[in-house]
Structures are given as C-alpha cells and as structure tokens.
Amino acid sequence: MISKGRNLLLLFSLVAAVLLVACSQQRQPCLEPTNISVRAGIYTTNIDTAGVASIVSYALPSPVWGIIDSLGNSTFLYFNTNTSFFRFTLSSLSDECRWIIRPDTLANTITDTLTFSYSRQLTFVSNGCGYRYYYTLNNVNTTHNNIDSVITNKTEVNNDLNAEHIRIYFIKRVDIPPFPSVTHGPYPTI
C-alpha cells in the first residue's frame, strides 16, 4: 500500500522536474568579453633635472584615433582627453590593418599610422556569445612623426582584459603640454 506522503513526494518531484527543465530554453547570456582588441599603453622618456632619463606612462592631451580602411580612406572614430591607454580593434577581414592616431587635436599635431600584422583564429566562445576572432600579433610598424617606437609586450590577443599588448613610446614634443606620469587605469570603452 502506498502512503499519501509517497504520492505527494512523487507529484512534487514531477512538477519540480518540469519547472527545472522548462526554464532553460532561452539563449544563455554572453558573459565573455565581446570586444577583442589590442590594448596599448602610452609612454615617453622623461629627463629629470639631474639629466637622468626614465620611461614613464604618458597621457596624451586630446588624442583622436581611427582607421584606414581597405580603400585607403582615413576615418577618425574616437576622441578622448588625457588618456594613456588605447584599444585598437583588429580587422577580422584581413591579416593586416592600419590605425591612425593624432596625439593632440588642439595643437593640430601630425598623424601617425600604426600597421598591425597578425594571424587570425576563429574561436568558439559559447552558445551565448557565438564565435569570435582571436589574433596573434606578428608585427606592429609605425610612422615616426610623434611616435618614437612600438614594443610588443604580448602577442596573443584574446579575451584577456588585463593584457597590455603593445607599448607606444611617444616623442615628447614641445607643443604637447607635459602631463605628469599616470598610473594605469581602465581602458576607455570604444
């Protein structure tokens, strides 16, 4: 003979099971970073009063930056003030792309061009996020109007939000007001 308690337990189990399984039909949220980009820190050489040179983080006063598309057209996309960090999205349509950067719009400084060469890896992130391209940086070239050099710190460009992939060393120009060295903060959202 089956007790009333056992029947209730079975009924409860059935209802709980239906609720548990039925609530899982919506698309999972994407919890991974979706903007895969090269993160760059800006640096310059600082010479103190005693004549000793040191590398310091450097905030560009009012930079603008943008892309040169496959047709060679330049487009400035972003503007910021007093920033020492940049993010450059790589094109998943080719193995090379170019970004332009002008350190101080107000001073009408000359634009530099950064050329990124890389290989692409199509990567499945999750059903919530779909696929993303991760990249391996092969080379970063630059013009030298305001930029002294570019050093690659980390070649793997993926969902690691803490990586500083490249360091861009700017020539400290007279027409760029000297900003104090800054500590690293969050990268600007673009």
Binding site: I2, R6, L9, L10, S13, L14, A16, A17, V18, L20, V21, A22, S24, Q25, R27, Q28, T34, I67, D69, L77, T89, L90, S91, S92, L93, C97, L122, F124, S126, N127, G130, Y131, R132, Y133
Partner: protein, 227 residues
C-alpha cells in the same frame, strides 16, 4: 576535472561503506530480507515528452532497463536520442545525438519483505553519446571593420561523461512503479567540444558546461520471475 574525480571517489567510499552501516542498522532496528525473485524493470522518462511539447529548441527521449542482481544492487542500462536547433542572428546550426549509459544502483532502503521493491538509491554511470553537428553558420559582429561570417562544415564526434545518481522508486500498483533520478554529470572529453559545444546534448544537457545537474522522472514496469 579534479573535482569530478573527488566526487567520484567520495561516492565510491560511501557505497563501499554502505553494507557495514546497513549491518549495524540491521542488528539494531530492521532486518533486511533477500528477494525470492528476479526482476527486470523497464522505465520510460515521462517528463521529456512534456518538455519537448513546450520547448522548440531541443528534443529528447529516454528509457532505461535495470536488472536486480543481489544484495540490493541493480545493473542499469539507459539510452535515448534527441536533437537541438540553434537559430540566432549570429549563430545557427542543428545537432542530434543518441546516447547510452551503463552503471549500477545500490538501494539504501532495507527490504521489509521479499516482494518489497521500493528503493532509494545511489548509483554510478558511464555514458557515451555519438553527436552530429550540421553545418554551422556564424557571423562575427564588428562595428569598426564590418561583420565577418562563414560556414563551418558539419562534424561528428563522441562525448563521454560519468554520472553520480541518486533517486527513489516506489511501486504504485503491482509491477508498476514511479520514481525520480537526480544526476550530477561530469564531462570527460571537453576538448572535443571546443570547436563548437552543442547547446544541448540529449542525455547530458548543455554541451558547453563541464558539469551539469539533471533530473528524470520515470514510470517503470517490472517483469519478475522466481529464482
């Protein structure tokens, strides 16, 4: 994976120690008796058809057979099939699979009479599922340089996992029982799922999770014959 094996060995220890606990309990309280019959039980998961009718994205059907060996130990074979459909703006594919599980259940309830087949049990399963994924259509959204999409060819592979199960089964009327089984499932070859983890693998659950919990409700018919 380390955690999975930790759970596995903990459960093994518990199961190994159960007979000694049962003996102590027998001496103090209830004497368990051995069945005078063989039993082969056929079970069907009755929740999945209800879920299938409510959810468009996935289908699954599942059945099980278990055979009573002795000392409250049952050999279990389970199997089924299912499919899933993903049709998002940036990701679209279909998957389908069959699955098979083999393992044991150990009943923890003392048998009050030779024909008492009610059980609350712990168990282990090893499972395999041959999976087919259709051509995958994807789009990587990029507001700066432009979207990039393509097709990834279809793929066949096999998923393996093991399960720790717990549940109960109660005989409602002669030879007919109902019960539920809770399952902790731990994927053994997650590398196979890196290129594309199906949104749903019948018998397992979400393919992009290395560990999942699941729940079955069974109706069971038992065939019994004398020893």
């Amino acid at each position: 994976m380390l955690n999975s094996f930790k759970y596995f060995f903990c459960l093994l220890l518990v199961m190994i120690s159960l007979p000694s606990f049962a003996q102590e309990e027998d001496e103090d309280t209830i004497a368990s008796v051995e069945s005078l019959q063989h039993q082969l039980a056929l079970s069907i998961d009755v929740v999945q058809p209800i879920v299938n009718s409510q959810v468009d994205l996935k289908k699954s059907y599942e059945a099980a057979i278990d055979y009573y060996w002795r000392k409250d130990i049952y050999f279990v074979l389970e199997g089924g099939f299912g499919s899933s459909v993903v049709n998002y703006p940036d990701l679209a594919y279909q998957s389908r699979n069959t699955f098979f599980r083999a393992g044991i259940n150990k009943s923890l309830l003392p048998r009050l009479k030779p024909n008492d087949w009610d059980m609350a049990f712990l168990g282990l399963r090893f499972a395999a599922a041959p999976i087919n994924i259709s051509n995958v259509s994807y789009t990587v959204v990029d507001s700066v340089w432009g979207n990039n999409g393509g097709i990834i060819p279809d793929k066949d592979f096999t998923g393996y996992w093991f399960e720790i199960v717990a549940g109960m089964r109660v005989e409602l009327i002669r030879n007919f029982s109902a019960g539920w089984t809770m399952r902790g499932k731990f994927l053994l070859n997650s590398k196979q799922f890196r290129d594309l983890a199906p949104v749903y693998v019948a018998g397992y659950g979400k393919g992009d999770k290395n560990g999942v919990f699941d729940f079955n409700v069974y109706l069971t018919y038992a065939i019994r014959w004398n020893k």
